[in-house]
């Protein structure tokens, strides 16, 4: 045990002596969460649009003020002719043009269905669709109001309510995602690099010749990173909670426990990589390619898993971050307890056991 402590102390000195790395370790999570939180938005808010109003009557003006008042759309330009539409898009000033027909009033009074045209800039298809839906909702709302004034036949009225994230804040999505990403990055990348460094400088041999067990050597190297990653997990949750208002509906203790589980799974992956990589650079590239990119793309962090081709959906099942993300979203946003997430927890535990088993086996092979 005393030997093990000597090793821990050394690792602690390595980490705290290297101020640059330390700043990256503690600074990066905060910076990343702020960047992701502020930059990546997929909710509609103050989108600049233009109108082409052929009608210019009380209805169109009322509609326009309703649109402006919604807070989602912002009318910045009034076009005079249909020729100007494409130009407006090309200058990329607006994302949508709403065209009111000149017989708008007539149609509305005669109970005809007025045809209002929405033209959308689909260079970003998802976004265009989203704006279209918002506009539609505003216009339908107005139509319902109209029919309330002049009673008509009953029609179906849809009432949507978004639960667990009523305001559709994208930070609710990105804070857990960033958490998964950061923990994976720190744990796997740092642990694989730190072990590969010992191999590269030759000091690993000396440690192995000493009476320390190989397992002790590896544990001594990765243990400090468990603590570091844990501190980071806490800081990311705090920033998410204070700056972006991401709630923690469920148990904080449960959240911490599963985070530790995810951290040690990532560390095990890092160790596995370091059993293959002999150089720091190799370890870094392997971590990047094998862990970082899939975590970004396949975990459901940025792109919904349900929309992926089936093959990728299967592939996403072997990404630990996917399960972790499901768990922490359930805990943070839905307030789920262990009864709802035990399957994912079990999967993560299984992944941890398998990777650590492979690493231990590989490690022995390398010593032969």
């Amino acid at each position: 045990m005393k030997r093990f402590l000597a090793l821990l102390k050394k690792e602690y000195l390595h980490i705290f002596r290297d101020m640059r790395t330390l700043m990256i370790l503690f600074g990066m999570p905060i910076v990343q969460i702020l960047i992701f939180g502020y930059v990546i938005k997929n909710e509609v808010k103050d989108v600049d649009i233009a109108v082409l109003d052929y009608a210019h009557d009380e209805y169109s003006i009322e509609l326009r003020s309703k649109i402006q008042a919604s807070g989602y759309l912002n009318i910045v330009d009034e076009l005079q002719s249909s020729e100007q539409i494409h130009d407006a898009f090309k200058r990329a000033k607006v994302s949508e043009v709403i065209v009111f027909p000149n017989d708008l009033a007539n149609d509305l009074q005669k109970d005809n269905q007025p045809a209002i045209q929405l033209i959308l800039d689909a260079t970003d298809p998802n976004y265009a669709q989203l704006i279209g839906q918002y506009t539609e909702a505003i216009l339908l709302d107005y139509a319902v109001e109209m029919s309330a004034i002049t009673p008509q036949q009953e029609s179906i009225k849809l009432e949507n309510r978004m639960v667990f994230n009523e305001e559709l804040e994208s930070s609710f999505m990105f804070v857990p995602g960033t958490m998964a990403f950061i923990l994976m990055l720190l744990s796997a990348l740092m642990s694989s690099i730190t072990i590969a460094r010992e191999k590269e400088t030759g000091s690993m041999e000396v440690l192995l010749v000493s009476s320390l067990k190989p397992l002790q050597v590896v544990l001594g190297k990765v243990m400090p990173y468990v603590i570091l990653a844990f501190v980071n997990a806490v800081s990311v949750i705090l920033v998410g909670n204070i700056v972006f208002g991401v709630p923690i509906e469920g148990s904080v203790i449960l959240l911490m426990l599963v985070s530790v589980l995810f951290v040690i799974t990532s560390l095990a992956l890092g160790i596995m990589i370091s059993t293959i990589a002999d150089k720091q650079f190799t370890a870094m590239m392997m971590s990047m390619l094998i862990l970082m990119l899939p975590t970004m793309l396949l975990s459901g962090f940025i792109f919904p898993i349900e929309n992926m081709p089936e093959v990728l959906q299967w592939l996403s099942c072997i990404i630990p971050a996917r399960w972790y993300l499901e768990i922490i979203k359930s805990i943070m946003l839905k307030g789920a307890g262990i009864a709802f997430i035990w399957q994912q927890v079990l999967i993560l535990t299984g992944m941890f056991i398998v990777t650590i088993a492979i690493s231990v086996k590989n490690y022995k092979l390398r010593l032969e």
Partner: protein
């Protein structure tokens, strides 16, 4: 088992697939002697040292180190040996004292022992004032001396030095060998691999390895006499040539 034989190797074979790195090596090393393992790069020196230090397992052969069997008692062996690799393996971002403390701690010395030996080590090297200097800022010769001192900080029976002086100039090498003699005087057996012929001259006995086989084993003086050469360099060249023609004839 005789008490004065600290390393006993009988018919050591190590194969990597089809390649035989160590081919039926047999030798004994006596307590307190400086035993040199001489050979060109790739002759199998490092493989042997790895087996003797428990980093690697032999394919076959009877081997005991410090009285323990390499197959079953590698933990006991590890407690009784020191090791210094080609790369010195001190941590560059730790200070001299921190490195000593680390290895002292890893070898299970008590806090008091570590303190005493650290002070003794610093004063012997005359670097009390540099105790907190980072290893990374020291010249290579100093790193080498400290690495050696650290490798024997726990007073092992045997210290293994794997090409300890590669990249160091001859004068520094000479100073380094003074330290090795001192350690041998204290009863620490020194097992050293090298491809520097001048170093071979400093050893009590030298084993010469050519392509995995041991072709000679004796004191440098005896070897020079037997092969009628003035220097170990001559002996080595003669043996290496002979071996090569031997290999050719075999094909």
């Amino acid at each position: 088992m005789q008490a004065d034989k600290v390393i006993q190797v009988h018919n050591l074979v190590k194969k990597f697939g089809n390649f035989t790195a160590n081919d039926a090596l047999s030798f004994d090393v006596y307590r307190g002697e400086i035993f040199g393992f001489l050979g060109a790069n790739g002759a199998g020196k490092t493989t042997t040292i790895k087996i003797l230090t428990g980093l690697s397992k032999p394919t076959s052969g009877d081997i005991s180190v410090a009285g323990f069997d390499v197959y079953k008692q590698s933990d006991d062996i590890k407690r009784n040996i020191g090791y210094m690799s080609q790369k010195f393996s001190l941590y560059e971002d730790l200070s001299i004292v921190e490195n000593i403390r680390l290895y002292g701690g890893i070898y299970g010395l008590s806090r008091k022992e570590i303190k005493n030996r650290t002070n003794a080590l610093l004063s012997r090297l005359g670097i009390e004032d540099k105790a907190n200097v980072l290893i990374g800022s020291l010249p290579l010769g100093w790193k080498q001396k400290i690495a050696f001192s650290v490798a024997i900080v726990h007073n092992p029976d045997i210290v293994f030095l794997d090409e300890p002086s590669s990249g160091v100039d001859p004068i520094t090498r000479r100073q380094f060998w003074d330290m090795i003699y001192e350690a041998a005087h204290q009863g620490i057996t020194v097992f050293v691999t090298t491809h520097y012929m001048d170093e071979a001259e400093y050893c009590d006995r030298v084993a010469i390895l050519v392509s995995g086989k041991m072709v000679a084993l004796d004191s440098p003086g005896k070897l020079k006499h037997d092969y009628d050469e003035d220097s170990m360099e001559g002996v080595f060249v003669k043996l290496a040539r002979g071996k090569r023609s031997f290999v050719k004839n075999n094909k």
